[in-house]
């Protein structure tokens, strides 16, 4: 294979458009706000370490709260990496190229913070090493530890390996006077020279990883669902839970990548590379994924709802008509039905409406995880009684909100700094795309835009 030739001068429009840029005023404000949220979260966590988990509103009955539902959310969002960089790749979808790196950094940031938030939830975080010293393979938690760690590694490789040629571009364009920056890129570029041998290797690596990451991605969502499905609890005791979680994760992840893409496209003026056609295509994909998720939701709620077994029935009543009904119906309607309906229309698939709908999907996905975790715990087999009134409900404390927000802000910061340091759209892959003679008309978005 011929190596891609990338011109490293000002005549190369790709470089001017796609090289990382310094934060402007709004960028600085954004980073500042996120940093403040992270600092508040740190303060809340220090309080939690000092006083114990009593600073949360979790108690003996609601023993899992928004830390766990936030964890499930992060795991769900991280599926987007494998969706765009593996599944769409294996399906030979060419228009995905400018979206690959965005989705992969979302995946890495999300899965990293999933791991962090699980440590935050532990009563004895300093005993984390017990998992390795005394780990029992019989426990679904250990399966989760293994599969999440593996996914983090494979996702990081899927981010890093295709990044090498672009890091080399950054290295070559950085003047020698900026010593640290030069060293940083030189170190990360792993002596990339752009030989045909290196390109052959990188293509091979990406192909192998893309195949590897698919079962892994299905694995982390299935295993995470088993944390719930392996118990006897009403609402969790379901053999449907694995595919239900996978479907929800695809939907949430797709919403996540669209939202981030929209912001980056507008902020860095990438309209030439991320076209309206991309939003149209991603919107169609999101409709499909929402329909699949809707199907699993019907399975998950209609079947037990038809039978209304005692405890299941109480749990479902609290969702359908009871305490959690407003949240439940908002999430189901705005997070699933509205997106499907809006994006069925061509006007609904324009960038702005797609962005708004994607935000709905992502916010809905977060609260959906809350609705999966918390109401079930409030409906144990033996009804909650003889405990303080506050134990009958669960309303997260400010510490829980602060820590959870900090984890979300942290993930966004990772994405933001990544964009600051590296080209968020792969320069070498775009060059390859442009130089490739076999672009068929249907997928040639760039010409259509021009």
């Amino acid at each position: 294979m011929e190596p891609v030739k990338i011109k490293l001068d000002k005549s190369n429009q790709l470089l001017t458009d796609l090289m990382p840029k310094k934060f402007n005023a709004s960028g600085k404000l954004w980073v500042g706000v996120l940093l403040v949220i992270v600092v508040i979260g740190f303060y809340a966590y220090i309080r939690q370490l000092q006083k114990g988990l009593v600073v949360t509103d979790m108690r003996d009955f609601t023993s899992w709260g928004i830390y766990i539902s936030n964890f499930v959310f992060f795991v769900a969002i991280s599926l987007v990496g494998s969706l765009v960089s593996a599944i769409l790749k294996l399906a030979n979808v060419r228009w995905r190229t400018p979206l690959v790196r965005i989705s992969e950094i979302i995946a890495v940031a999300a899965i990293f913070f999933a791991a962090i938030i699980i440590i935050v939830d532990m009563g004895r975080p300093e005993r984390f090493w017990h998992l390795f010293a005394f780990g029992r393979l019989q426990s679904p938690i250990l399966w989760d530890v293994i599969v999440i760690t593996t996914y983090l590694v494979v996702s990081s490789l899927l981010l890093y390996i295709p990044l090498l040629p672009d890091i080399a571009i950054c290295r070559d364009l950085t003047p020698a006077s900026l010593k640290f920056k030069k060293w940083f890129y030189t170190f990360l570029a792993l002596n990339w020279r752009g030989t045909s041998q290196q390109y052959a290797l990188i293509h091979k690596c990406i192909n192998v990883l893309a195949v590897l990451v698919v079962p892994l991605a299905l694995g982390i969502h299935t295993v995470t669902s088993w944390l719930f499905a392996t118990t006897y609890r009403a609402g969790w005791d379901s053999s449907n839970f694995g595919p239900y979680f996978v479907a929800g994760a695809f939907q949430a992840g797709c919403g996540g990548v669209i939202a981030v893409t929209y912001v980056l496209r507008n902020h860095y003026n990438l309209k030439k590379y991320i076209t309206t056609k991309h939003f149209d295509n991603m919107a169609k994909l999101l409709v499909l994924l929402s329909l699949v998720y809707l199907y699993f939701n019907i399975n998950e709620y209609l079947v037990p709802g038809y039978k209304m077994k005692t405890v299941d029935g109480e749990h479902l009543k609290s969702l359908f008509t009871g305490h959690y009904a407003p949240l439940f119906w908002s999430v189901q309607i705005f997070g699933m039905v509205v997106p499907i309906v809006v994006m069925l229309f061509k006007k609904g698939r324009a960038p702005l409406p797609v962005f708004i709908v994607s935000l709905l999907v992502v916010v809905g996905a977060w609260f959906k995880r809350f609705l999966i975790v918390v109401p079930t715990l409030l409906h144990p087999f033996i009804p909650i009684q003889n405990v303080p009134a506050s134990w009958h409900t669960y309303m997260p404390t400010w510490e829980e909100w602060a820590i959870t927000s900090a984890s979300l802000a942290g993930a966004l910061l990772v994405i933001t700094f990544f964009v600051r340091l590296f080209p968020i759209i792969s320069i070498w892959e775009m060059t390859e795309e442009q130089q490739s003679p076999q672009i068929d008309e249907q997928t040639n978005l760039y010409e259509a835009q021009a």
């Binding site: 006083k51 004895r124 029992r136 530890v145 006897y232 033996i382 003889n386």
Partner: protein
């Protein structure tokens, strides 16, 4: 500092404490006292009472005692091993329970539980609209197929040879998966770091390492009072119940006792149609229930299971 300490209203505990000191003295102390006497340490003036081998109470200066009580001698009990040859089992007779709450308070006292925590819950149950309500005390069921043990990622909760489901609070990472996995809500968590046992309490609990010392950020639950079972005594809830609701015993011997009467386990379950709660979950609890038929007390609803009601029971006798 004199021996007429009226504040201690628990003679059993007091006795235990003295016994503890005495054991310590016999095992290690006297040798130490002798060697300490030979050394010239400055006297503190504080006198400490010890039990001599010939049964006399002797008073020595505190400087003569090596204050370090060797824990290894006291806690020989392996937290992961049960009492050999036993299979502990409990039977709870629902026809006798009137929600007196004595089991709960005795349990909390024995385990030094803070006010808002309880290993035993006394639940108001009503199986259907027409069925009569009844009280159902639920300790840990010490299941033979325990869901909590299955899910523990670090082996901090485990099945002992004597049937008890134990917890190692030094191993527990506080993930609370076991609490979520337990269908009976038997487990409680040390949510705060503030509640801590004092030295005396620690020393009383420590010899029986299976009892939780309330390590913050870890899970605990009913342990069938290993302190008592090791001495062939009934758990505190069984002893405290004024109505003989709880039977406790050994499945191997096929004998259970509620303190008043000792009966054959198999015969009791046969005669009174013993059952296990939520049998169809397949957890195989070691706690059986006798159905609330031929009640000894009419069901009286209590908004709050008050101390006052418990005392009425006590005063009216049984």
């Amino acid at each position: 500092m004199d021996s007429n300490n009226n504040e201690s209203n628990d003679s059993r505990r007091d006795f235990l404490r003295k016994g503890f000191v005495a054991t310590a003295a016999v095992a290690t102390g006297l040798g130490l006292v002798e060697t300490a006497c030979k050394e010239t340490k400055p006297k503190t003036g504080d006198k400490v009472k010890l039990l001599s081998p010939d049964g006399k109470i002797v008073e020595v200066d505190s400087s003569m005692i090596n204050p370090a009580i060797p824990d290894s001698l006291l806690s020989k009990h392996n937290v992961r091993e049960g009492v050999p040859g036993k299979k502990f089992v409990m039977v709870i007779d629902l026809s006798r329970c009137r929600n007196a709450g004595k089991c709960k308070s005795a349990c909390s006292k024995m385990h030094y539980l803070p006010d808002n925590r309880s290993y035993i819950k006394i639940n108001k149950m009503q199986d259907s609209d027409k069925a009569a309500p009844y009280w159902m005390p639920t300790p840990c069921f010490h299941c033979d197929n325990p869901p909590c043990v299955k899910v523990c990622p670090v082996g901090a909760t485990f099945k002992l040879t004597d049937g008890i489901v134990g917890i190692d609070n030094e191993r527990c990472i506080g993930c609370r998966f076991c609490m979520v996995a337990c269908p009976y809500s038997a487990r409680v968590f040390n949510w705060d770091t503030e509640y801590q046992l004092n030295i005396t309490q620690m020393n009383e609990i420590k010899p029986h390492a299976a009892c939780s010392t309330h390590v913050s950020g870890t899970v605990e639950k009913c342990d069938f009072c290993p302190t008592n079972t090791a001495k062939d005594e009934l758990p505190d809830c069984v002893q405290a119940c004024p109505n003989g609701v709880f039977y406790f015993g050994d499945e191997v011997e096929d004998v259970v006792s509620n303190g008043d009467e000792t009966v054959r386990l198999s015969q009791l379950l046969k005669d009174k149609s013993g059952y296990r709660y939520l049998e169809d979950l397949g957890t195989k609890p070691r706690v059986y229930y006798l159905p609330p038929v031929n009640r000894q007390f009419p069901f009286k609803d209590a908004e709050v299971p008050t101390e006052a009601e418990g005392q009425t029971t006590h005063e009216s006798g049984h």
